[in-house]
Amino acid sequence: MSGLGIPSRGYGGPRFGTFAPRPKSLLARGLEKGGLLRSWDWLLILATVGLSGIGIVLVWAASAPGLEALGENPHSELKKAILWAALGLILMFVSASVDYRRYRRWAPAIYAAALLLLLAVLVAGQSVNGAKAWINLPGGFQIEPSEFAKLGIVVSTAAIMSRQPAVGARGAGRPTLKSAGLAVLAAAPSIILVEREPALGVMLVLVFTLAVMIVLSGIRLYWVGLGTAIAACGIYMASKAHLLKGYQLTRLTAFLHPQDNLTGAGYNGYEAKIAIGSGGMHGLGLFHGTFTGGNFVPSVDTDFIFTVAGEELGFVGCAVIVALLAFVVFRAIRIAQRADDLFGVLVAVGVASWFAFQSFVNIGMTIGIMPITGLPLPFISYGGSAIFADMIAVGLLLSVRRHHTLFE
């Protein structure tokens, strides 16, 4: 072509006289395919904010009548709940902005910090309802380290199980049994410390999350089978040897026949079930729940917040909450599916199984299909530590998604 005598000067941009493409605005560039704003999962954020908003309203509805009866400011818990949610959102964006691969490098530090908090609660913990689960901070604030232990387990397990670089021959990249053992060993102190508090519910979340992450890491199925068998034996031995404390066993089995023990372990479950059942299809309306407002259901602003939704918002409100939680979990699994590396997959899987299990057990115990254990409902229950941990976990999900190759 160049023989034509026209000097080749390569592509020098549009020729003079043709129209140049209009310079795109920052927003438009962010929103176009592969753009920076597209990297954020807005639907996930929207679901999270929605859940937090519902949570704030429910905490208000649950706490105001009781506070008013005590002659205190009926909106004091509402104000705090708004504050926690706002701080949580900030934490979420901050943790989402950090490249998730850095968390892998920071995993030992995160793990150590979570473990230290748990040790601190053992030493300086504040006893509430028989459980030593809180550390008093100056200014009247409290911190609940078991909530952050969930984050610690997710990050450390993901780091350990993704140690092998995924290269080489077929099957060579599978995590080894050694990794799995290491992950269990690493998680064991946290699990034991949480059990010591005692916070049975949190312990179950930790165990479930750990198990799901190990299985999903790609470990050989026969190891999974063997592990399941060993766990089954262990549970059997534990129940034989009465390793579970009396109250733990009572609580774990009370939900099966709640009417038998109305003054004791069955009370919460029974009252909660009546409260939710009496809500019907549309509920009694916010602040109109005599049951939850009348303090029939204990811990109604925290572990039993779902009863408020059940009574005052009815089936419709409950369905919205369950759907939003399910959306968050499914979104997390989808992020796991698209993650670039095993660490990202496992972080997302860990968060998904944590949210799924905790939500299921929490809602399940209020409607009588799960034993009653002390677990907050993610995003909804009143409590700063839980909200922060949940929000940071969503931040991790967002980080995994944002640092997908597509967006880099």
């Binding site: 999903l216 303090n295 369905a319």
Partner: protein, 682 residues
């Protein structure tokens, strides 16, 4: 190993989906399918029934003068235990704040709330220190609100509607033992009355003695119920439903408060007389009964002030109440005292003799002494009075006439049965007559406290021997053939206690020996004699009147039986007894009494029952007028001496009160009022 993980993510999807289905399905089932059922459950779980106690009915006399009134009033109480635990200064500042609200002084409050211990002068609190101490009654709603609205200012101070019981004692009438008392219900009583759990509040008051116990169900009324909504802590959040309580009925009694007061004071005077004569008299009873079986007055000495039941009873007051040293004021001696009737018994003995064939026109010897079964029986130191009629024998109260009749009837009775050891032995002829007059069993008067007295039937002798020969008093072990008097008797009784011996038959005929009766039984038997042979179950209650003033139930004395005595015999005895007051043993006490006026004429019988170890029981049983009697008056004072000396003057004074004689104001000028008062006089 991402591909493997991604494949396994499908499992996680499935797991979460299963959870979602489980939650959604369960929620649908709970809220949509079973929503109605849970709504009902929720409603039931949030309401409680509160018992609204009914105001207890009053007890009034025959004209509506209140003997017991019950009212509700706002009462401010101070719980000193709470006060001392919640305040650092022992409650001083609280009481200082409280005093002006109650229009009283701090000092008065501390005086009212200090405990009555040794050396503490009244006023003081004589109840339990753990009990809230009432410091003001009849408080206004405004004051109560001020106190209740600021619990922090007044810890341990409560203002509550409480029942306030009062004993107005009209004319000074205080039939304390007859009225009885109310006390909080016990668990046993709740079980006995099959009350539902909400039927009675724990602190509900229940009649425990006297009329309060007898007519408890009518007096109590029906408590109302308030259905309130509550929260889990049981705190009331609102009222759902309200059933007003039905207040208790008023019990109208046939007691006449003026006469009751007079009878009490005459009885007290009689006891004082007996004591002034050197007796150790510490109890007594007086009864006025109409010929129709209604009790117009019933006094038991000593009495007590029933207000101790409402103001909190102290340990020492309680000890006094039940203690023997003070004569056991809690006991109603009129129905519970068991005394030998003495010569008043000759009335039934005469009836038994006539029924056995002795002629009313016959003459009977009254020697100075009579020898029966080797023992000498004397006529109380009198010389031989020769032959006399039954009428004369009653008027001069000749013992030997009746000793002889008792012995003769023993001889003609079933002699084999007298000595047989037989738990089912037939009753002797004379003792059967006494049983038929209502002795030996409870009269049925409408107070729960009562004794039966003793009629020594052969069965009773056997049962007593069975109970005491080798057990109980253990006669066979304690008895000595040549020991003390009591030991000798025990020795004899061990070997022959079941036997009905001639000496016993003789002594029983003049109302001594084994025979005891209650004053109520004796008064009731004389009522039957007076009215021509109808034995009633006497009644103190006359009617139950609803709070609105409607007569709910008239209470008439039921007829227990007819005396198995010919009316001519009863008439003969009545005429004879009229002579007792004009010329016989009662003449001295009735000096100056208008005996000859048929409207006031009194017929009576004295009794002086000798008892081992103490002085004689003084008895005077009477009725008036002599023809068509209206009233029976009986005074019985044990350990007091001659019936003519102690009991007779008291009876005479009571008749003065009834009729308004000798400067007394007539208590029953027109007889017993016929109309039932439907309002409590305030």
């Amino acid at each position: 190993m991402i591909p493997v993980s991604r494949r396994r993510l499908a499992v996680l999807y499935l797991l979460v989906f299963a959870m979602l289905v489980a939650l959604g399905g369960r929620l649908w089932y709970l809220q949509v399918l079973s929503g109605t059922q849970y709504k009902t459950l929720a409603a039931a779980n949030q309401t409680r029934d509160i018992v609204v106690p009914a105001v207890r009915g009053s007890i009034v006399d025959d004209t509506g003068k209140p003997l017991v009134t019950n009212d509700t009033s706002l009462v401010v109480s101070v719980n000193m235990m709470t006060l001392s635990q919640t305040t650092s200064d022992g409650g001083q500042s609280v009481l200082e704040r409280l005093a002006p609200l109650l229009h009283t002084s701090y000092k008065a409050l501390t005086d009212d709330t200090r405990l009555c211990t040794a050396g503490v002068p009244v006023p003081c609190w004589s109840g339990s220190p753990y009990q809230p101490i009432p410091v003001a009654e009849g408080v206004s709603d405004q004051t109560a609100l001020e106190i209740m609205e600021e619990p922090k200012q007044f810890p341990g101070v409560t203002a509550q509607v409480q029942a306030v019981t009062d004993y107005p004692m009209p004319d000074g009438a205080n039939p304390a033992q007859v009225l009885g008392y109310v006390q909080p219900i016990t668990q046993a009583e709740m079980a006995k009355e099959h009350l539902p759990e909400t039927g009675f509040a724990g602190d509900d008051l229940v009649g425990q003695a006297g009329l309060e116990a007898q007519y408890n169900s009518a007096l109590t009324g029906t408590p109302g119920a308030q259905e309130v909504s509550v929260d889990a802590a049981g705190d009331v959040t609102g009222t759902v439903g309200d059933t007003a309580p039905a207040n208790g009925d008023t019990l109208v009694t046939s007691l006449n408060s003026q006469l009751q007061a007079d009878v009490q004071s005459e009885l007290a005077k009689a006891v004082a007389t007996a004591r002034s004569e050197g007796n150790k008299t510490d109890q007594g009873a007086a009864i006025v009964e109409t010929a129709g079986g209604r009790i117009v007055a019933m006094a038991s000495y000593p009495d007590y002030n029933p207000n101790i039941w409402t103001t909190g009873i102290s340990q020492s007051a309680y000890q006094n109440l039940i203690g023997k040293s003070d004569g056991e004021p809690i006991i109603n001696w009129a129905t519970q005292g068991q005394y030998a009737p003495g010569s008043t018994w000759k009335v039934t003995s005469t009836a038994a003799a006539v029924a056995d064939g002795y002629s009313l026109n016959g003459l009977y010897n009254c020697p100075a002494t009579l020898n029966i079964d080797g023992r000498s029986f004397a006529n109380d130191g009198e010389p031989s009075l020769g032959d006399m009629s039954f009428a004369e024998a009653l008027i001069v109260s000749c013992d030997t006439v009746y000793y002889d009749i008792g012995y003769q009837m023993w001889q003609t009775d079933d002699n084999a049965a007298n000595f047989a050891k037989n738990p089912n032995a037939p009753t002797q002829k004379m003792q059967q007559m006494e049983l038929d007059w209502g002795f030996g069993k409870y009269t049925g008067v409408d107070v729960p406290e009562g004794n039966t007295g003793i009629i020594p039937t052969r069965q009773w002798l056997y049962d007593t021997w069975k109970a005491n020969a080798y057990a109980g008093q253990d006669w066979c072990k304690n008895g000595r053939a040549n020991g003390s008097y009591v030991q000798q008797i025990e020795y004899d009784d061990c070997g022959s206690g079941w036997e009905w011996q001639p000496g016993q038959a003789a002594i029983a005929a003049i109302g001594q020996g084994y025979v005891t009766v209650t004053p109520m039984q004796l008064a009731n038997a004389y009522t039957a004699l007076a009215n021509g042979g109808t034995l009633y179950e006497p009644r103190i209650g006359e009617a139950l009147v609803s709070p609105s003033g409607k007569v709910v139930q008239k209470i008439n004395p039921p007829v227990a039986r007819r005396l198995p005595v010919a009316s001519s015999t009863l008439s003969y005895i009545r005429n004879a007894l009229a002579g007792v007051v004009t010329q016989g043993t009662g003449a001295g006490a009735f000096g100056g009494y208008p005996d000859s006026d048929p409207n006031y004429c009194v017929a009576a019988k004295t009794g002086t029952a000798q008892n081992f170890g103490v002085n004689a029981t003084s008895v005077f049983a009477s009725f008036s007028p002599c023809v068509h009697p209206k009233y029976v008056v009986l005074v019985m004072v044990p350990d007091a001496g001659y019936g003519a000396d102690v009991a007779a003057p008291a009876v005479k004074a009571i008749y003065d009160d009834i009729y308004g004689l000798q400067g007394h104001k007539a208590a029953l000028p027109k007889g017993v009022p016929a109309a039932i008062p439907t309002k409590v006089q305030r």
